[in-house]
């Protein structure tokens, strides 16, 4: 099997996922369908590897993404044969498969009912409770999903994935302080994740843009988060993009801000000169990144992000001309 199958498929570009799934029937034919760990034949045939089963799982997810339900079903069958239907991870995978083939909301609700049955029997089944939350989100029951997630993180507070999901759900509800709290929990688990720093900066920026009295505090914090994310990862496009947005906003609001009362718990607002210099740096760096990625000099930037950065730069340029 190809190497891209050994990574989780969530971040594969659609073209690669499609290619994988188109090759799925061939791949499935080429790998032995039954591998028993107890047969004598393991003495002379190649031993099964953990990678094989990861590949099956990823192949199944890719197939579901592209709508090849037959191959996905075959993967699931082989996994079930090997690990048994009672395996927690397989229960979640089977649920995922059923969600994918469900025709309407009624069928989805039925899957939800199954999840709840499983969880009633065994509340410590983490994969299935995560699926249940994801399904609640799919069904549009955001508040219920938030409640369920809160219970989940109460019993498993070291799960970064769950905290990040909770933060996203809170953002959709406009509950920024809660979202910030959840993302800070993620940072406590992975303190050097620059994408999380940038994401937290984005949420702080959103919270600062709502226009209440503490807006500038949020904006300053957001600016510093973006700075930190760039510090952790040079040339991080999202970080510079956010830095430019935050400094733009601060440059308009800082001059008329009253000199804030100095309290011990929060950092003081950055002075105007620093913000200006940061804005210049961000602009220069962004234009450099855009130029280099448009000319094809450096790969690896997301196309949409580069286009957005270009749009931001252009809007800033017209403003200064005016």
């Amino acid at each position: 099997m190809s190497s891209s199958l050994s990574h989780p498929p969530a971040h594969l570009p659609p073209s690669v996922a499609l290619q994988l799934s188109q090759q799925a029937p061939v791949t499935l034919r080429n790998t032995p369908s039954v591998i028993s760990s107890y047969s004598l034949s393991t003495l002379w045939s190649a031993a099964e590897t953990p990678e094989l089963w990861t590949e099956y799982e990823n192949l199944m997810l890719s197939c579901l993404r592209t709508g090849d339900e037959q191959s996905a079903g075959q993967c699931l069958e082989r996994l079930t044969e090997r690990f048994g239907a009672e395996n927690e991870r397989l229960m979640a995978l089977r649920g995922l498969f059923q969600e994918a083939i469900a025709k309407d909301d009624a069928a989805l609700k039925q899957v939800l009912g199954e999840y709840e049955n499983i969880l009633a029997k065994d509340p410590s089944n983490m994969p299935v409770s995560k699926r249940r939350i994801a399904l609640l989100k799919t069904l549009g029951k955001t508040t219920e999903a938030i409640t369920a997630l809160n219970e989940f993180v109460d019993s498993s507070p070291t799960d970064a994935e769950a905290w990040a999901e909770l933060a996203d759900l809170y953002v959709t509800q406009g509950m920024y302080p809660q979202a910030i709290f959840a993302l800070e929990e993620v940072l406590l688990i992975t303190p050097y994740a620059w994408n999380i720093h940038a994401r937290l900066g984005e949420i702080l920026f959103m919270a600062g843009s709502t226009g209440d009295s503490s807006g500038d505090k949020y904006l300053a914090e957001s600016l510093r988060r973006f700075c930190r994310s760039i510090e952790l990862c040079d040339d991080y496009l999202r970080g510079y993009y956010g830095l430019k947005l935050a400094t733009n906003k601060l440059l308009t609001s800082l001059p008329q801000a009253s000199r804030q009362s100095k309290s011990d718990s929060t950092l003081p607002l950055p002075d105007l000169k620093t913000v200006e210099r940061l804005n210049e740096t961000a602009t220069a760096k962004l234009s450099e990144i855009v130029r280099r990625s448009v000319s094809g000099e450096c790969e690896g930037y997301d196309k949409g992000e580069v286009i957005a950065a270009k749009a931001l730069l252009d809007s800033g340029a017209t403003k200064t001309i005016r």
């Binding site: 760990s37 107890y38 393991t42 003495l43 031993a47 065994d122 509340p123 410590s124 109460d154 019993s155 498993s156 507070p157 070291t158 799960d159 709290f181 800070e184 940072l187 406590l188 688990i189 303190p191 914090e221 600016l223 510093r224 988060r225 700075c227 930190r228 760039i230 510090e231 011990d264 718990s265 929060t266 950092l267 950055p270 620093t274 210099r277 940061l278 740096t281 220069a284 760096k285 450099e288």
Partner: protein, 261 residues
């Protein structure tokens, strides 16, 4: 100095076919069998109940907060610290809140701990029983045979090791008895098992010995006989005295100094 005459012992070539090869083959086959027996006997690790998971992960959360506190703002840290220290001291995260303050249960009577010990017993038994049987079999049938001559000279100290079961004082230590061959097989078939069964097989003894020597740090932390309440109290104390230093303080200056456009 007179040259010591080379000892020659005329051995029946049949010894080679009927002792050396059988012992080797039997050793390999028992190794393979033991591998499959261990795999079959292995119990899946008992699933933890939700309260137990919560207890462990809540403690880990405190540890995470302590190590990575600098990533969040002082206000956020203060709020979390107050909450966790309070909850730890009240024992909110304990799996059995009503048992707070009692001594840790004796690991011998704790059924969960017994499970792990049974697993270890099974592993040891799977090692010991076949070895005892084969040792007895070799002792009964093949004791006292001199089997091969090693192609290199050895000092006298090796005599007791290589000539077990042959009580001849003057024999050169190069000669090897059948029991010694068996002992050599026990330790020397490692790579054969690796080749046959894969590198993480249950027949290889090294893994077992390693397992007995040092159980992982994770097992130590939440193992039987550790009082979770005490752990929580200790963690609360650690958190309470922690000095917080915000990473984001002055980050914009740091950035401006390092970034070259």
């Amino acid at each position: 100095m007179a040259q010591i005459p080379v000892q020659t012992i005329h051995r029946d070539p049949q010894l080679f076919y009927w002792i050396l090869i059988p012992i080797t083959v039997v050793m390999i086959l028992t190794g393979v069998l033991r591998h499959y027996a261990t795999v079959l006997m292995a119990t899946t690790p008992k699933k933890q109940e939700l309260p137990a998971i919560r207890e462990q992960r809540s403690l880990l959360r405190g540890i995470n907060l302590r190590t990575n506190a600098n990533a969040i703002s002082p206000a956020s840290f203060q709020a979390r610290k107050d909450y966790l220290v309070n909850a730890y001291e009240k024992g909110d995260f304990l799996k059995e809140p009503d048992k707070k303050g009692q001594a840790a249960p004796n690991p011998m009577t704790d059924p969960a701990a017994m499970e792990g010990m049974m697993g270890m017993m099974k592993g040891n038994m799977a090692m010991m029983i076949p070895q005892t049987l084969i040792m007895g079999w070799i002792n009964a049938f093949f004791s006292g045979f001199v089997m091969i001559k090693l192609p290199f000279p050895l000092t006298i100290k090796f005599k007791s090791m290589l000539q077990a079961g042959v009580a001849t004082r003057d024999m050169d230590p190069q000669w090897m008895s059948s029991i010694s061959w068996y002992v050599l097989c026990i330790f020397g078939l490692q790579s054969v098992f690796n080749y046959l069964l894969g590198s993480d097989n249950a027949a290889s003894q090294m893994a077992q010995q390693m397992g007995q020597m040092g159980p992982g740090a994770g097992a130590q932390m939440f193992g039987p006989g550790v009082d979770p309440d005490k752990q929580f109290k200790a963690e609360a104390e650690n958190l309470a005295v922690l000095a917080h230093e915000y990473t984001l303080a002055g980050v914009e200056q740091r950035l401006l100094e390092t970034v070259k456009v």
